[in-house]
């Protein structure tokens, strides 16, 4: 049962990752919609659990294997760091919108680190700032919807 649960959550996260890439292939605007990043931050801030480490790790390995040209494990580590960082910030400070903005800004910075390292600042800065607010809006909406449903 535990194995099945891990497989299901890993598959769900990998599909989210795939959908995120599809959405961003369609969008040719100066921002990205990072639904997978949002789900990682949601895991970190709302449902942080040690049992989720394996599904995140597996979805990262799948992403690294199929869609990334970097070495295996890079995106896996990035996904895990995003979850840890978002949980750390939310546990240490109060749950205000400012903290959520800071959390999403830092997590997005880590999430986009391969691009930030390889490209100059003109390439990513504008889209980075726009993406923060677009994804913050999505994150807060998702949080509110899920809270109402619960």
């Amino acid at each position: 049962m535990k194995i099945l649960r891990v497989i299901l959550i890993s598959s769900f996260l990998f599909i989210l990752c795939l959908v995120e890439n599809y959405i961003n292939t369609f969008i040719s605007l100066e921002f990205g919609v990072y639904i997978f990043l949002i789900s990682l931050i949601y895991i970190g801030t709302e449902i942080f659990n040690q049992n989720l480490v394996l599904p995140i790790f597996l979805s990262g390995i799948l992403y690294d294997s199929f869609f990334s040209t970097y070495y295996l494990g890079l995106y896996t580590a990035i996904f895990l760091v995003v979850v840890v960082l978002s949980n750390f910030l939310i546990s240490r400070y109060s749950r205000t919108n400012v903290i959520y903005i800071i959390t999403i800004s830092l997590c997005l910075l880590i999430y986009k680190i391969p691009i930030i390292v390889e490209f100059n600042i003109n390439y990513w800065l504008a889209s980075y700032f726009t993406s923060i607010f677009v994804n913050l809006f999505i994150f807060l909406s998702v949080k509110r919807v899920l809270k109402i449903n619960v």
């Binding site: 890439n21 790790f57 199929f66 040209t69 295996l72 490209f119 390439y123």
Partner: protein
């Protein structure tokens, strides 16, 4: 207070262990020349597995209707026929598109000794690299040129898997290309994501540079135009040319792409 702080750190231990494991995998992958990262893609046909089978399209839906066949037989027959016609219509549209793609290409290329495999965009990954259909199943290899319907080079294959490949396009982080001008001067092309930077490797360039071409001396399959540099400002420093060209066009799902291979 102190106990809650310790608890706070403890809850991350498993995460830190897995981050360490990821780092370890990266190191092993680095020293094994990416054997580890290509292990799964080499064994799984990811793209083919997502295709909807023709059987499903043609029969399964009609089977749903056939349960009512006893009641309205004629209606069912017409529905089946309609389904088949729809499948044929989609197939016909795809073939028509392919013919259009190849017609455009034939008007713009001169080398008919090669086979041109039509390929299409699948998605763009987090580092702005494009995944395109076709891989080892078509004998594609890393470094193979990718051209558009006008016969111009749009990139080359960075990595090739079973049924898909990663395209290093102009706005890719790893884009690095060599090309020749009409006087056989060598140019190196790099990208910063928003601009292409062309630098001559020789100091003999005298006149204004126009069209750059791929060449077999760099391992390319044939001579294909890359870009016409004439409209852009060309700076000359120590007898070396540098041209910066903004990248305006992005690849879309409608982009027509071809990979030339020898027959």
């Amino acid at each position: 207070m102190q106990s809650s702080q310790v608890d706070g750190i403890r809850k991350y231990i498993v995460y830190f262990l897995f981050i360490f494991l990821s780092g370890l995998l990266s190191v092993v992958d680095y020293f094994s020349n990416k054997t580890l990262s290509s292990f799964i893609p080499d064994r799984v046909n990811l793209i083919s597995n997502f295709q909807i089978s023709d059987r499903l399209l043609q029969n399964e839906f009609s089977n749903l209707f056939s349960s009512r066949a006893d009641l309205v037989a004629e209606n069912i027959r017409l529905k089946e026929e309609l389904t088949n016609l729809r499948v044929l219509y989609v197939e016909n549209q795809e073939l028509q598109n392919n013919i259009d793609f190849y017609n455009d290409l034939v008007n713009n290329i001169s080398d008919f000794e090669l086979t041109y495999y039509a390929t299409s965009l699948i998605l763009k990954n987090s580092t702005d690299e494009y995944l395109i259909s076709g891989g080892r199943n078509y004998n594609f290899e890393p470094g193979d040129l990718v051209i558009n319907e006008t016969g111009y080079v749009v990139g080359y294959l960075g990595e090739v898997f079973n049924d898909y490949s990663i395209l290093e396009s102009f706005n890719s982080t790893n884009f690095n290309f060599r090309a020749l001008d009409q006087n056989n001067n060598v140019f190196e092309v790099n990208s910063n994501g928003k601009e292409l930077i062309f630098s001559s490797l020789e100091s003999t360039v005298s006149s204004k540079v126009s069209i750059l071409y791929s060449d077999i001396t760099f391992g390319h399959i044939s001579k294909f135009p890359l870009i016409d540099l004439e409209p852009y400002e060309q700076t000359k420093l120590n007898n070396k040319f540098t041209v910066t060209v903004p990248i305006n066009e992005m690849l879309t799902f409608q982009s027509k792409l071809f990979i030339p291979k020898s027959k």
